[in-house]
Amino acid sequence: GAGVSQSPSNKVTEKGKDVELRCDPISGHTALYWYRQSLGQGLEFLIYFQGNSAPDKSGLPSDRFSAERTGGSVSTLTIQRTQQEDSAVYLCASSLAGGPTDTQYFGPGTRLTVL
């Protein structure tokens, strides 16, 4: 069956440019999560969606980062005026309802490199 998909798989951009990262969750999953993983580091929580709303945006590193989710499905993470420290793998996950016992299903990630 279809899992979580992310696109692009790799993105190389120049400092100062904007980038959009896309996540397609598993159909029927109402909860969606974005994480960032820098080289050799653990997962850093960015944002959580329940349906189309994001009750918790506290993990977004700066106001250059924003995320939206439309139709309770696809989500995009946008980074404006990218900086070199934004280089990382951005992981998306979805779960059925967002409860504490939910299993999160992760996508393969988008590797972002800012030159």
């Binding site: 979580v4 999560y33 994480y35 580091q41 653990g42 997962l43 850093e44 929580f45 959580y48 329940q50 009750p55 918790d56 506290s58 992981l91 996950a93 967002g98 409860g99 504490p100 016992t101 299993t103 999160q104 299903y105 992760f106 996508g107 393969p108 990630g109």
Partner: protein, 111 residues
């Protein structure tokens, strides 16, 4: 937000049992403890979850003491393919849902 602490790395040999302990001293009453496994260039995948006492599935066991301030993931008879990073996640559901992944434990299994 329940902060977690895990060992950075552990080495083992094929056929041995590996035990990874995660500390979460300020775990909340409605928090669950979940462990994920991550291979290079892949997203994490679910291994096991528990609230208290012991949970066992086909791949691992999870031991949680009564005070729930720590938990131990036990991998029986590891093989080379168990070499991965293991994350301890402590989470609860609320309006301001927050998640806390540990830094992860890199387990290296040698022949």
């Amino acid at each position: 937000l329940a902060k977690t602490t895990q060992p950075i790395s552990m080495d083992s040999y094929e056929g041995q049992e590996v035990n990874i302990t995660c500390s979460h001293n300020n775990i909340a009453t409605n928090d669950y403890i979940t462990w994920y496994q991550q291979f290079p260039s892949q997203g994490p995948r679910f291994i096991i979850q528990g609230y208290k006492t012991k949970v066992t599935n086909e791949v691992a066991s999870l031991f949680i003491p009564a005070d729930r301030k720590s938990s131990t993931l036990s991998l029986p008879r590891v093989s080379l393919s168990d070499t991965a990073v293991y994350y301890c996640l402590v989470g609860s559901y609320a309006v301001d849902y927050k998640l806390s992944f540990g830094a992860g434990t890199t387990v290296t299994v040698r022949a």
